[in-house]
């Protein structure tokens, strides 16, 4: 029996195997129940100190990680870039090493630069969880999306999932593409040419230019947020035109050959990428995603904390003794 481990860090779904992704999804299942209890807390990470190091604004992800940490009984500290020594010009590594000198165990980091999580992970002993790095990856979002799909449709492998919107700038899109491909889903992307990374087909992804084609093909749509700065930067002509061409509207969904599941990583721009009637309608699992986010993050923290490779044999012996 091989004992599966995630290793020291969670940097992206690109670096995980199918089995590791499935381990995280399966481990999230029992953690859902913890959040349904009257006392929403288990002592699993008692005595562990986790720093949430956020160099970029985030509400949902930071709160979700913090709930996950607290429900596992870890001690947490939130560091936001604003008002910290980062503003005084301290480098990322110096910040992290100073935190580590205070004997922390894990860092959850969001950073505007792609690759920042990996850079940090290679330089500190603590476990690093990527909470979003630039345009690279947002692995826990990809995982919670897959968990939500699996909850509703019973599986992920074999399903047709289309990610819609600003693929070019989206770390959510990248984590979804990697994760979904690994577990055997058929993956497509749909969005304006100007917001589509060159050569994405080479990953084994179908590209749709028209949202109608995507809706006709897919079992699941994962609708990305269109950042309004993109219009100012000239990627799209106008918000109104984007909605007319790419908006996921009720009328478009009504023409679909099958019931679609609609995901959105949030925060939503109603009337830009998604119709309010869709966001609040029966196809939408957007709030279910938020609930699952806490369970996924609990699973990741649980699996990483104390996951020392040299202890694998001990764990193996213990599991065998129990079964």
């Amino acid at each position: 029996m091989t004992v599966l481990s995630l290793g020291k860090d969670l940097l992206g779904l690109e670096y995980l195997t199918k089995e590791q992704i499935e381990l995280i999804l399966d481990t999230a299942e029992p953690f859902k129940e913890v959040s349904e209890r009257t006392i929403k807390k288990v002592p699993t990470l008692r005595g562990k100190t986790i720093v949430n190091l956020f160099f970029e604004a985030s509400t949902r992800t930071r709160i979700s990680f913090e709930f996950a940490e607290k429900r596992l009984s870890a001690d947490t500290v939130n560091v936001a870039a604003l008002g910290s020594s980062v503003q005084k010009g301290e480098s990322l590594v110096d910040t992290a090493r100073n935190l580590e000198a205070m004997r922390i165990d894990m860092v959850v980091m969001r950073h505007p630069s792609s690759g920042a999580a990996k850079f940090l992970a290679e330089r500190i002993r603590s476990n690093v969880v990527n909470g979003g790095d630039g345009m690279h990856e947002h692995p826990t979002q990809g995982l919670l999306d897959m968990l939500t799909i699996r909850d509703r449709l019973g599986k992920v492998g074999g399903l047709k999932v289309c990610i819609c919107g600003d693929i070019l700038h989206s770390r959510v899109a990248r984590s979804n593409v990697w994760g979904l491909l690994k577990v055997g889903a058929d993956v497509a992307v749909c969005g304006p040419q100007s917001l589509m990374p060159g050569g994405i087909e080479e990953l084994g992804v179908i590209v749709f230019r028209r949202i109608e084609e995507a809706i006709e093909w897919a079992d699941v749509l994962n609708v990305l947020r269109l950042q309004l700065e993109r219009m100012e930067a000239g990627y799209i002509p106008s918000i109104g035109e984007y909605y007319r061409v790419f908006g996921v509207t009720l009328e478009r969904l009504e023409r679909a050959p099958r019931e679609l599941l609609i995901l959105h990583p949030g925060p939503m721009n109603r009337g830009v990428e998604i119709d309010s009637r869709v966001a609040d309608g029966p196809h939408s699992v957007i709030l279910h995603q938020v609930t699952n986010g806490v369970a996924i993050r609990m699973a990741v923290l649980y699996l990483l904390a104390g996951g020392k490779p040299e202890l694998a044999e001990a764990a193996k012996g213990m599991q065998e003794a129990e079964t």
């Binding site: 953690f31 005595g47 104390g306 490779p309």
Partner: protein
Amino acid sequence: MSPSERQTLLDAPGVAGALERIVQQVVEFAGGTERLVLVGIQRRGADLAQRLAHMIAARWGTAVPLGVMDITLYRDDLQTVGPRPIVGETRLPVDLDHRCVMIVDDVLYTGRTIRAAMDQLADFGRPARIGLCVLVDRGGRELPIQADIVGTKVDAHADDMVDVLVNELDGRDAVELVKGGKT
């Protein structure tokens, strides 16, 4: 492992007989079936709890609430073990306040599982009483914990393994002692 090292402590009829005695004592312990909740420890304890629930339904005509509990998240050795043990399902169907909760497990050994189970139960409510019933008590306690109801006892050495087999998972019912089985 050669078969000669295996010693049968209870065969299938032996297990059935033990469960007959256990179920009687469980109902006596709880003063009837009214307030009784059975909570099986994953995994074989969960199967045994389900058997007891069926027997109570057949004999007393009551469907007693049946829960399952995985104690992994409450283990006291999580800081020292490597890649994480798989976490199983925990599902407690009723409010435990003022109930008589009977924890059901296959083997009682160090007592650490039961310590974790009691800590977890406390996070779900405040039962009027908690009892413990096990199919085998193999000795070797590391904590001051004893079972209220015991199917059979064996004084096993630390190197031995006590193997409880249940039909649901293993295709047959038995309790076996494997000499030097814990390597």
